[in-house]
C-alpha cells in the first residue's frame, strides 16, 4: 500500500505538485539546515523538533504566505506572528491538513538519506543540492530563514509560546 498521494484523477495534478514529498522533504531539509546553522551559534541542539518542521511546511508551501515570510532571520518569531494575526488563527488547521503530506515527505527525505530522526527530532544527513529554478530558490531561502528564526528563539518552549500552540496534546 502506498500512502503517498500520487497524481491521479482524484487528487489532481496540482494537488500532487503542491504537496509532493520531494517538495515537503526539501522544505524540511532547508528549515532544519537554517535551524542548525543558528543553533550552532547558540550551542543548542542542532536538530529541529517535528512540529516546527510541520509548521514550516505549512508556512512555506503557499506562495502568498511564503512571500510574506521575512527575508532575513533578524526578526523574532513572536514579532512575525504579531504582524500576521491571521496566521495564529489559521495555522492549526493548516498544519492539520499538511500532516499526511508531511509524513510522506519526511519518509521520502529519510528514504533518500537527506533527513534522519534523532531523539525524536529531525536532523540533516546527506547534502541536498541547491535548486536552480526561481521557485526552488525562493523555497530554499525562506525555509532556511524560517529555520534560523526558530533557532533564534532558543528553545522549543519559546517557539511554542511564540506560535501560541501547545505541543503534545
Amino acid at each position: 500500500m502506498n500512502d503517498v498521494n500520487g497524481p491521479n484523477f482524484d487528487t489532481g495534478l496540482d494537488l500532487f505538485a503542491h504537496t509532493n514529498p520531494a517538495f515537503v522533504s526539501a522544505v524540511v531539509y532547508w528549515t532544519c539546515k537554517g535551524y542548525s546553522e543558528n543553533a550552532a551559534k547558540k550551542a543548542a541542539v542542532l536538530s529541529l523538533a517535528i512540529p516546527w518542521c510541520l509548521v514550516s511546511v505549512a508556512l512555506v508551501a503557499p506562495d502568498r504566505l511564503r512571500d510574506a515570510l521575512p527575508e532575513t532571520s533578524a526578526r523574532r518569531l513572536s514579532n512575525l506572528m504579531a504582524e500576521h494575526p491571521d496566521w495564529k488563527i489559521s495555522i492549526a488547521d493548516a498544519v492539520r491538513l499538511w500532516v499526511p503530506s508531511f509524513w510522506a515527505g519526511l519518509r521520502y527525505g529519510i528514504a533518500k538519506g537527506t533527513l534522519n530522526l534523532t531523539s525524536g527530532r529531525i536532523a540533516l544527513q546527506q547534502r541536498l543540492d541547491s535548486p536552480a529554478t526561481p521557485t526552488g530558490l525562493a523555497v530554499q531561502k525562506k525555509s532556511i530563514t524560517l529555520g534560523k528564526v526558530f533557532a533564534n528563539e532558543g528553545s522549543d518552549a519559546a517557539i511554542a509560546l511564540a506560535l501560541g500552540v501547545e505541543v503534545g496534546r
Partner: protein
C-alpha cells in the same frame, strides 16, 4: 293736437247698413238720461272699445245680439278719425279687426272695412291723439326694450264708470291689473310732461356720456395698473429675449419706455424658420457614420479583450504550471537511493522508489505540457490580436476624426436644437407682442372731452334725473292739490276745507283730515264723499292735463253721478221729490259739471244718468232722453225681429 268725441254709432247686425248714431258737441256738458236697461252705461263701454281695448266690456244681451259693429268719430281742430270695430263673435273675447279712416270730412262708413289690426290701429290713434311712441314702459318680456306709451294708457283718465265713481278703493278703472297699473303710472309721467320724447333723447345722451365716462375711467385705471406691474413683466421678457439673442446686450433698462424699445426690436428680429433650421444636410450623414464606427469599434474592442484575456490566461496557466513543475523538480535534487526506500522507523522497505519516481515523471510531463504552451496557437492568437489592435487603432482614429467633425458642426448646424430654438423664439416673440399690445394702453389717453362731458352730464342729470323728475312731479302734485281744492269747495263733502290730493305715484285719493295726516279714501266714510272726491280729482286731473298741454283727450265720461243719492230705480226727477237734500246734492254735482264744461273751458263731459232735472241749463245739456219706451241705445225697431 288732441281730440274730442263727435259721435258714436252702432251698426245693426245683419245687413250692417242701418246705423244708430249719437252725436255730441265738442264742448260743454252732455247728458244722456234715461231709465234702467236702455244702454246708457254701454255708451262708456262703446267708447272704451273704440279706444281699442284688449277686451270687450259691452254687455252681452241685446246689444251683442242686435249690433254687429260699434264706432266712434273723434275730431280735433284739423280732421276727424273714424274708428269702427266689430263686436266679438260668439266665443271670442275681442275682435282684432279695425276700420280706420282719417280725414277732414270723414264719417262712419256705410259698410265697415276692417283692414287694420289692433296694434297698427293703436299707432294710428296715438298719432291722431298726438301721443309720441315714447319707450317708457317696463317690458317684462324684454327688459332692455321698454314698451311705448299708447292711447290705452290714458284711457283710465277719460272714464268714471258706475262702479268706480263711488268706489272707496279705486280711483280710475282697469287699474286692478298690476301690470297695466304700472304702465299707466309710468305713462302718467309722459302725459303730465314730466318725461317727453326729448327727455328720452336726453336720457340716451346721458347714458352714452356716462358710458364714455366709465370707459375713460376704466382706461385710466387700467393704464395705472399696467404701469404699476408692467415694468417687472417687461424686464423678465427682455431678459428672455436677451438669452435667445433676440435683442442686443446693452445696459439694463431703467424705465418702461426703454423696455418697450428693446422688446419692439425683439419682435422685429426674424429667427430661422423651423424649415430652415431643419434643412442642414451633412449632419445626419456624419452622425450616422459616427454611430456605425462606434459600433464597429466596440465589437473590435470586445474581440481584442477576449484575445487578451486568452493570452493572459494562457500565460497565467503557464506560470502556475511552471511553479508546480519547479516543485516537482525538487525531487531531482535528492540523491538516488536504490529501488526501495526504508521506513525511517522500522527500516523496512515499504516505499517503492520506482513508483514515486514514476509519479514524479508523470506529473512533470503533464505539467510541462501545460507550462510549455503550444507556441503555434499562441502565435496565431497573438497575430490575430495584433491585427485587431491595428483595426482598433484605425477605428479610433477614424472615430476621432468623425467626432471632431461633429463637434465642429454641432454649434452651427445642430438641426434639433435649432428647430427648438426657433420655436422658442417665435413663442417669446408672441408673448412680447401681446405685452406690447397691453402696454399700448399704458400710454396716457388724452381725454380732451372730459371737462365738456362732465359739464354736460351735470346739466343733463339736473334736467332729467329721477331726482329732477321727482322734484317736478312734486310741484305738479301741489298744483293739482290746489286745483282739486277749488273743485271740492263746490261739492257737498264732509271735509270741505281739508286738502285733497291725488298721489301721482300711487293714483290714490287722499284727504288731509283736520290738517293732520293724509288719509286714503278707503278710510273715509260715505259714498257721497267718495263720489264727490272722485269727481273733483277727475276734473282736477284733466285741468292739470290742459295746463300741461297734455295729449290726453279732454273728454270725461261719467256714469250715474247721482247713484249715491238716488238708486237707479228711483232717479231724481223734478217734481217727484222736491226740495230734497239729496236732490240738492245731485243738482250741485251737475252744476259743477256744467260749469266746468262751459265756464272753465273743460270742453267735453258726457254723463249718462237717470237724473232728469228741470233747471234750464240741465235741460240744455241733455243730448238723449231715454225715459220713454221709444228711445234707447238700440232702437226698438231693431228688436222687432
Amino acid at each position: 293736437m288732441t281730440w274730442r268725441i263727435r259721435a258714436i254709432a252702432l251698426y245693426r247686425a245683419g245687413d250692417r247698413k242701418e246705423r244708430r248714431e249719437i252725436n255730441f258737441d265738442l264742448s260743454r256738458l252732455q247728458i244722456i238720461t234715461g231709465v234702467s236697461a236702455r244702454g246708457k252705461s254701454s255708451v262708456l263701454d262703446i267708447v272704451s272699445y273704440c279706444l281699442l281695448s284688449g277686451g270687450c266690456s259691452i254687455p252681452k244681451g241685446t246689444i251683442r245680439e242686435r249690433v254687429s259693429d260699434v264706432g266712434m268719430v273723434c275730431e280735433n281742430a284739423v280732421e276727424k278719425l273714424a274708428i269702427v270695430r266689430a263686436l266679438p263673435m260668439e266665443g271670442e273675447l275681442s275682435s282684432g279687426a279695425v276700420h280706420l279712416e282719417r280725414g277732414p270730412n270723414v264719417w262712419f262708413p256705410e259698410t265697415p272695412d276692417p283692414r287694420w289690426n289692433l296694434d297698427t290701429a293703436k299707432e294710428a290713434l296715438g298719432d291722431f291723439t298726438g301721443i309720441e311712441a315714447v319707450p317708457l314702459l317696463e317690458n317684462s318680456q324684454s327688459p332692455a326694450e321698454p314698451s311705448a306709451v299708447n292711447i290705452r294708457h290714458c284711457a283710465p283718465f277719460l272714464f268714471q264708470p258706475q262702479d268706480v265713481i263711488a268706489s272707496r278703493n279705486m280711483t280710475f278703472p282697469w287699474l286692478d291689473d298690476p301690470f297695466f297699473r304700472r304702465h299707466v303710472l309710468d305713462a302718467l309721467d309722459y302725459f303730465l310732461g314730466l318725461v317727453t320724447m326729448q327727455t328720452m333723447v336726453l336720457r340716451a345722451e346721458l347714458r352714452q356720456l356716462l358710458a364714455e365716462q366709465r370707459r375713460a375711467q376704466q382706461a385710466a385705471e387700467e393704464a395705472r395698473r399696467l404701469r404699476a406691474y408692467g415694468f417687472e413683466r417687461g424686464l423678465s421678457l427682455r431678459n428672455d429675449a436677451l438669452v435667445l439673442e433676440l435683442v442686443q446686450e446693452g445696459s439694463d433698462p431703467t424705465s418702461l419706455e426703454d423696455i418697450l424699445v428693446a422688446l419692439k426690436s425683439a419682435t422685429a428680429a426674424t429667427p430661422d424658420s423651423v424649415a430652415t433650421a431643419g434643412n442642414q444636410v451633412p449632419f445626419d450623414r456624419i452622425q450616422g457614420e459616427e454611430a456605425r464606427l462606434r459600433a464597429t469599434l466596440r465589437r473590435e474592442e470586445l474581440r481584442l479583450a477576449e484575445l487578451s484575456r486568452y493570452m493572459d490566461g494562457a500565460r497565467q496557466r503557464g506560470a502556475t504550471a511552471q511553479r508546480q513543475l519547479d516543485r516537482i523538480r525538487l525531487h531531482e535534487l535528492f540523491p538516488d537511493y536504490g529501488d526501495t526506500m526504508q521506513c525511517p522507523l522500522c527500516l523496512s522497505g515499504t516505499l517503492s522508489a520506482k513508483e514515486i519516481e514514476a509519479q514524479f515523471t508523470f506529473a512533470s510531463e503533464a505539467l510541462s505540457a501545460v507550462a510549455d504552451r503550444p507556441h503555434r496557437v499562441e502565435s496565431r492568437v497573438e497575430n490575430e490580436r495584433e491585427k485587431v489592435v491595428e483595426r482598433v487603432t484605425d477605428l479610433r482614429a477614424r472615430l476621432n476624426t468623425v467626432q471632431d467633425q461633429l463637434m465642429k458642426l454641432l454649434p452651427l448646424q445642430r438641426p434639433a436644437l435649432l428647430t427648438e430654438e426657433a420655436i422658442r423664439k417665435r413663442l417669446l416673440q408672441g408673448r412680447i407682442s401681446e405685452y406690447i399690445r397691453a402696454m399700448s394702453r399704458v400710454e396716457p389717453v388724452v381725454d380732451t372731452d372730459a371737462a365738456k362731458r362732465e359739464a354736460r352730464i351735470k346739466e343733463l342729470t339736473a334736467q332729467i334725473s329721477e331726482t329732477a323728475i321727482e322734484r317736478q312731479r312734486q310741484m305738479l302734485q301741489e298744483r293739482l292739490t290746489d286745483i282739486i281744492a277749488e273743485v271740492v269747495k263746490k261739492l257737498d263733502v264732509e271735509f270741505k276745507d281739508d286738502p285733497v290730493r291725488l298721489d301721482l305715484k300711487k293714483l290714490i285719493i287722499e284727504v288731509k283730515v283736520r290738517g293732520q295726516r293724509w288719509v286714503p279714501l278707503s278710510e273715509i266714510g260715505s259714498a257721497a264723499n267718495w263720489l264727490s272726491y272722485h269727481l273733483a280729482v277727475a276734473i282736477g286731473l284733466h285741468r292739470l292735463f290742459r295746463q300741461q298741454e297734455s295729449s290726453v283727450p279732454p273728454v270725461l265720461l261719467i256714469d250715474q253721478p247721482s247713484q249715491v243719492w238716488f238708486p237707479s230705480d228711483r232717479g231724481p226727477r223734478e217734481g217727484v221729490i222736491a226740495e230734497d237734500k239729496d236732490l240738492e246734492a245731485v243738482r250741485r254735482v251737475y252744476r259743477l259739471l256744467h260749469d266746468c264744461a262751459t265756464k272753465d273751458g273743460f270742453p267735453q263731459i258726457i254723463v249718462v244718468d237717470h237724473a232728469d232735472l228741470s233747471e234750464p241749463w240741465f235741460r240744455e245739456s241733455i243730448r238723449e232722453d231715454w225715459h220713454d219706451e221709444e228711445h234707447a241705445l238700440v232702437p226698438p225697431s231693431w228688436l222687432a225681429d
